[in-house]
Symmetry: C2
């Protein structure tokens, strides 16, 4: 049993957005306000806890808490009817937990990113309303009765499927993460992106339902001899196109219409997207309208001028696809403030495009000492895995890091190790260890440990 | 490989609500409209498929499909910006897939039920916006900063926790179903409830995050000798209260704030609810405000006059809690219409309050012959399990049934077996085999096989 019961720690949530230096000053003064409000509003116990006194160990006394003595209005009134919201929404008190665009990151907001607020999420399922967005020419509202999905190229029977055609086929349901190849890109520049929403928020995990691509390719009689690659094409204005090797296409790829129990959301490809487990987001083509079978890679725009890695040798690494083993601590994380020393539940996410997570280690001293975290179940292949570990902050400066190891034995590299191989000019595929520095003031910031 | 590629089957979705006989007549005439529209709108292939011709086997010809020849507007225009919806919503084309109250089922809509639309869902995760609702005095919007959670009774250290206090504690995340004890209650009356939304829709499954109740009880130093039961109490106007045996409380019960990655929804207990895996919904107390440790069952209203089973002997069975092994086919299901004979992917859900699902069998002839369905992974303890099985409809009357078996070896009973033990006066705990009759017309209806 950890000692959380005798040493409570409290933290102030991260600002949910980029902050200017003025705004940061406000947060800092707000911190004092926050403490003052705690003293006024909360129970004697809460006050004692803030003061670090021994009564904190006992929780609030039952008698002393005004919130217990006086019944709140929701306990004394008739509530709202069932199906008041036929499709329910989050509490109004959670209105700040939203996807956010990074101001200035891209020139056009139709070819941009909205990041998932990882700092406020639990478990491994990302609510569909908070799944990150990365569009190349904006998102579209497709009428499913008008949508067509074509298979052509090296197939005996080119076909056009309606959504009805597809949804009657044998389906599978599986939980997988999708991560943009450019996730954590700004960390390459060592620009101290302030919060985990922006460092790692091009990452989400859903239960997807659809028909295996292998079933579709069989249905169309693809050329097993000459068919070496497929092209996947989207129906949005950008006609996003990606090459996928036939071995992968026949393995675990899904032509998916379902996400977290319901139809895909419009921003995530409604009514049809490709799910290519473990492979960078751009290959999980949204608004999927075509699969073409070919005998060589297709060399699309986003496989040549973008989503390629410029190596120190000057060569471009093309067709990088698998999202390698990676992890990040989501709380405490950048922008949060530890309001007192004591016990904290350190939590985060780990994932690997090559299979299951085997272990996650956590360091509080910048990588000198490591302890093994608890993994929440289920631990699934090519899915997010939630980890938790107990930690007691002694009030001194600390550097929190997590390091994931997958079932292939691959160990997530440090930024230093990654830079040694990849040089200084990469944009994509940053799976380096994330470091959060805790200052003596309790403020958490994004640093790179050399 | 099944023969779906040569024998396509289409179905018309279920009416998403109760229908009057007038409305049913409209659906039936609408069926003809539907076919006519298919012929006009869709490809040559779709037309051939409706006619059952051999071209259906080939899918649409690439050349013949107007939807392919002419690019739709979403392929030729600039789409919408990222974060247009900071919290995303389903496509407007999915607006009928909602929770619904059953008209006339209860007198007051604050003490009623809104059912989950199982007929339109995939996989095992229920979108939080579609989680079923069952309230005893309506649902409430609680301010989490004002919410208090008290532990008292046979404990050394009675405590009052704020949400901040709780959320710093070591947490777990697990996927579990919640089913109301009254789910399928109307099937006891053999009233032919028309759709699976109303027969089985008091059933949902989510990933929950929170602190194990055992950690809280330890924190308060509960009396290990005299503490035999706990009382869980809600903060809504009904003060819903339930007794739970201490062995269960110390096992896998969670004091939960997270649901499917985010905070609980207001209708489902925001900011705090109890999750008692495998036990009927009413014990998963929403808006949780208190746990009291006692030395005997508390005999609350909903453990005496309700949620008890009147047995043939005239005795009331009290404290029934575990939701026994059960399953249901969600498609094809009541209210849907099979528009042609041929291949169908039969899909459904299985679950057991006692552990994992081991096997699901499916019959198409009212229980004479059974075949084993595919189970989608992950198969988790006390969670929904999705099953799929291939089936070719020959156009003759058929009765579809599913029968689940859990890891304890418990076999889901037929309605006949259940009635032999439980008599005719039960309201709760109906886990009998569900039968869907397919008429020669293709219409699917709810029947009881004797």
């Amino acid at each position: 049993m950890s000692d959380f019961s005798t040493r409570p720690g409290r933290l102030k949530p991260a600002p949910e957005n980029f902050l200017s230096s003025d705004e940061i000053a406000q947060v800092q003064s707000g911190r004092r306000d926050f403490l003052r409000r705690s003293l006024v509003l909360a129970s004697g116990a809460a006050a004692a806890a803030v003061a670090g006194g021994p009564a904190a160990a006992e929780g609030g006394s039952v008698e002393g808490d005004p919130a217990i003595l006086k019944l709140p209005p929701w306990s004394t009134t008739l509530g709202k009817a069932v199906a008041t919201n036929p499709y329910g929404m989050p509490s109004p008190y959670e209105k700040n937990l939203v996807r956010r665009q990074s101001p200035g990151l891209t020139q056009v907001s139709q070819a941009s990113v909205a990041f998932t607020p990882l700092q406020g999420l639990f478990g491994i399922i990302t609510p569909s309303g908070l799944h990150f967005e990365r569009h190349h020419q904006g998102w579209v509202d497709i009428d499913p009765s008008q949508h067509r999905f074509m298979v052509n190229g090296l197939v005996k029977r080119p076909k056009v499927y309606t959504m009805d055609d597809l949804m009657r086929l044998p389906s599978v349901s599986r939980i997988h993460f999708i991560e943009c190849g450019a996730n954590s890109a700004m960390n390459w520049g060592n620009v101290a992106v302030p919060t985990v929403q922006y460092t790692h928020g091009m990452l989400s995990c859903s239960e997807f339902t659809g028909v295996p691509l292998s079933v579709i390719l069989d249905d169309c009689g693809f050329d097993r001899k000459r068919g070496k690659f497929i092209l996947a094409e989207g129906a949005d204005g950008s006609s996003e196109t990606r090459t996928i090797a036939i071995e992968r296409a026949l393995d675990d790829v899904i032509v998916a219409w379902g996400q977290n129990g319901e139809m895909l959301r419009p921003e995530n490809g409604y009514p049809l997207r490709l799910v290519v487990p473990g492979v960078q987001g751009v290959s999980n083509v949204k608004w999927l309208r075509r699969i073409k079978v070919g005998d060589m890679p297709f060399g699309a725009k986003d496989e040549t001028v973008a989503y390629a890695d410029l190596l120190p040798s000057g060569l471009q690494r093309q067709y990088t696809s698998i999202q390698e083993c990676k992890s990040v601590i989501t709380s405490p994380s950048g922008g949060q403030i530890l309001l007192e020393k004591g016990y904290f539940n350190v939590t985060g996410l780990a994932w690997s495009g090559r299979g299951r997570i085997k272990r996650v280690d956590v360091s509080a001293d910048g990588g000198r000492n490591w302890r093994t975290a608890r993994l929440e179940t289920p631990v699934l292949t090519k899915a997010l895995t939630r980890f938790n570990i107990d930690w007691v902050w002694d009030g001194k400066p600390a550097i929190l890091q997590s390091r994931a190891i997958d079932e292939t034995g691959f160990v997530q590299p440090t930024m230093k190790q990654l830079r040694e191989v990849r040089g200084t000019k990469s944009t994509y595929h940053n799976n380096g260890v994330q470091s959060w520095m805790i200052a003596e003031s309790g403020e958490v910031s994004n640093v790179e440990v050399s």
